[in-house]
């Protein structure tokens, strides 16, 4: 029998703020255990939580970027449960009036090859709600240790509908969501630091069946490839159970990335009854038109919209755009260069293929680059005007720009790299080389086309690499043809 998987994702993203969501102690990763707490975070008696405006604004922006509906009024509720990671025995979350309802996310599936765009789809969302993160448990042999540093970090939970059917779609969803959140400056989405975490709900059903199969929740899918691998494993496991005549239990399973398998954590019977009720300490938030408009005006261009603009405005090929749009800073760099480059596509090429390559080899980030966008434009223009050849730019000029941060024109001047301005000069040199090497000429004439490279090399040496190789090639061909 053919089976189809049905997948929904719950993504938790830490909203980037300076202080916690309900009090003013700082947030951070990797600090000394329990050094980022205060009486509100620890839920001491008599404390009053007050919501962080920035966390609310950034969450509304996420809702807008996801085309969700932002309510007129949003409020917070207490989700009651006992677990050592929750110092108050309840988590402040949102139940019936979340900060965003509905929404959708555009995703791109993997294309048939690296330079071909994949299929785009829209995944429907259920909601997004803003809550507080909980503490972190460290499990030892016979006990667990609790660090409350993470508790109270603003955490936005984005819930998709069961609208995906393959691990690849889930992977694409997470990739697209991460990119959108980075564009919105909502989070750096560093999964290793727990800034972005993902749980999945997955079931399988025979193809064609309408009713959903038994749902299993997978936790700890804490890397983008973990989501793909964990889902692939779990879908296969469920199909095998059904194929073997077994039945599936509704349960929560964990993903063990090291073993490459999911394991049972708890069954549905142990699931929680959270007894939500409105948090009496927190006043509702009303989002009026003025506020809404202001936030709307501050939204960034979305990644795929930007990519489409790059196709239309600059005629960039897919491969270049896909590298550029993965990093907003890189996009900015490119657009600055494109403003002055007469051939923006060439500028994109230099940035993606040469600058990123050199930065990678040197172990530097873009912000550490000594080459500025304007200098990329200058380089592109020098090549366009025929002052230097592409080869010379690549071999001599660009490496020096990268090392020193000097302007390309200054490097060309200082090193005497300008291509001989007069075509007559070059023709004269070519003619001399042809005269001086009758053997090679004879070989070319006898049909060995490759022999022309020897002559080309002589010309390049005579011009100290300044000549345009394509021009040299055609000049030599003309001169040799005259001999024939």
């Amino acid at each position: 029998m053919e089976y189809e998987a049905v997948i929904g994702l719950e993504v938790h993203v830490q909203v980037k703020t300076e202080s916690k969501i309900f009090s003013s102690v700082g947030v951070g990763f990797g600090a000394q255990p329990n050094s980022l707490t205060d009486p509100v975070v620890l839920g001491f008696p008599g404390v009053l939580p007050v919501i962080n405006r920035e966390a609310v604004e950034k969450s509304i922006k996420v809702g807008m970027l996801l085309n969700g509906s932002i309510p007129r009024v949003t409020k917070w509720d207490r989700k009651n449960y006992f677990y050592p990671d929750s110092p108050k025995n309840y988590q402040i979350s949102q139940f019936d009036q979340p900060i965003c309802s509905g929404g959708e996310l555009e995703i791109e599936l993997k294309g048939p090859s690296r330079n071909v765009m994949g299929e785009h789809k829209t995944i429907a969302l259920t909601r997004a709600h803003l809550e507080e993160d909980v503490g972190k448990l460290i499990h030892l042999e016979n006990e667990s240790l609790v660090d409350f540093n993470r508790a109270g970090t603003p955490l936005l939970e984005i819930v998709s509908q069961p609208d995906m059917h393959t691990p690849e779609e889930a992977y694409a969803y997470l990739t697209a969501l991460k990119m959108l959140l980075i564009y919105g400056e909502v989070s750096d989405c560093d999964m290793e630091k727990g800034q972005l975490r993902c749980d999945a709900n997955v079931s399988v059903r025979p193809v064609g069946q309408k009713e959903l199969g038994v749902k299993v929740e997978i936790k700890n899918l804490n890397s983008i490839s973990g989501v793909r691998n964990g889902l692939a494993y779990e879908i296969e496991r469920q199909i095998q159970v059904l194929e073997g005549g077994g039945t599936l239990a509704q349960e929560t399973r964990g993903w063990d990335a090291a073993k490459g398998m999911t394991y049972h954590m708890r069954s549905k019977e142990e699931s929680h009854d959270y007894r939500y009720f409105p948090d009496p300490d927190l006043m509702p938030v009303r989002i009026d038109h003025q506020w809404r408009d202001r936030l709307h005006a501050s939204l960034p261009e979305k990644p795929f919209d930007r990519q489409r603009r790059y196709f239309d405005a600059y005629g960039l090929p897919y491969t270049l755009t896909s590298v550029l749009i993965s990093d907003p800073e890189l996009c900015h760099f490119f657009e600055e260069a494109a403003k002055r480059a007469k051939r923006p596509r060439q500028a994109a090429n230099w940035i993606v293929n040469n600058l990123l390559g050199e930065l990678g080899r040197a172990g530097l980030t873009l912000s550490e680059s000594k080459v500025f966008p304007d200098q990329i434009a200058q380089l592109v223009n020098l090549i366009g005007e025929g002052v230097i050849s592409k080869n010379l730019a690549k071999e001599r000029v660009f490496p020096e720009m990268f090392k020193t941060g000097d302007n390309p024109a200054a490097i060309v001047q200082a090193r005497g790299l300008g291509q001989s301005e007069s075509a007559e000069d070059l023709e004269k040199i070519c003619s001399e080389i042809v005269q001086a090497n009758p053997d090679a000429v004879a070989e070319v004439l006898s049909g060995n086309k490759k022999a022309i490279n020897f002559l080309k090399g002589r010309v390049m040496r005579a011009t100290r690499g300044k000549a345009n190789p394509a021009l040299v090639g055609s000049l030599l061909e003309e001169l040799i043809a005259e001999k024939g």
Binding site: S35, L42, R53, Y83, M283
Partner: protein, 97 residues
């Protein structure tokens, strides 16, 4: 429909992670029943024309600006913690989830 004022004392105790003796079960059942009875009187008020609200006070949009201040030192934060280790609260081993 289930009577909104009935309850299962064992379930409530389980959710609160409490172990009750049989005497406690009886005593707390009676007390909790009285509380729910008291609240049941509120059901008699006709609120059909009142919009549901989470708060009685018409106060909205109480915010803090996103500025951080120093919090408690780990020593101070854990002052009342009965068992601690490496500046962390030590608890019986719990299953992850």
């Amino acid at each position: 429909m289930r009577d909104p004022h009935s309850f299962d004392i064992d379930y409530v105790a389980h959710l609160a992670r409490l172990e009750l003796t049989s005497q406690e079960r009886e005593r707390f059942s009676a007390q909790l029943g009285d509380i729910l009875q008291h609240f049941a009187q509120l059901d008699e008020v006709d609120v059909s024309s009142v919009e549901p609200m989470a708060h009685a006070f018409p106060v909205e949009n109480v915010f803090r600006e996103d500025k951080s201040e120093p919090g408690l030192s780990p020593e101070r934060a854990l002052e009342n913690t009965p068992r601690k280790r490496k500046n962390m609260v030590q608890v019986p081993k719990v299953v992850e989830g």
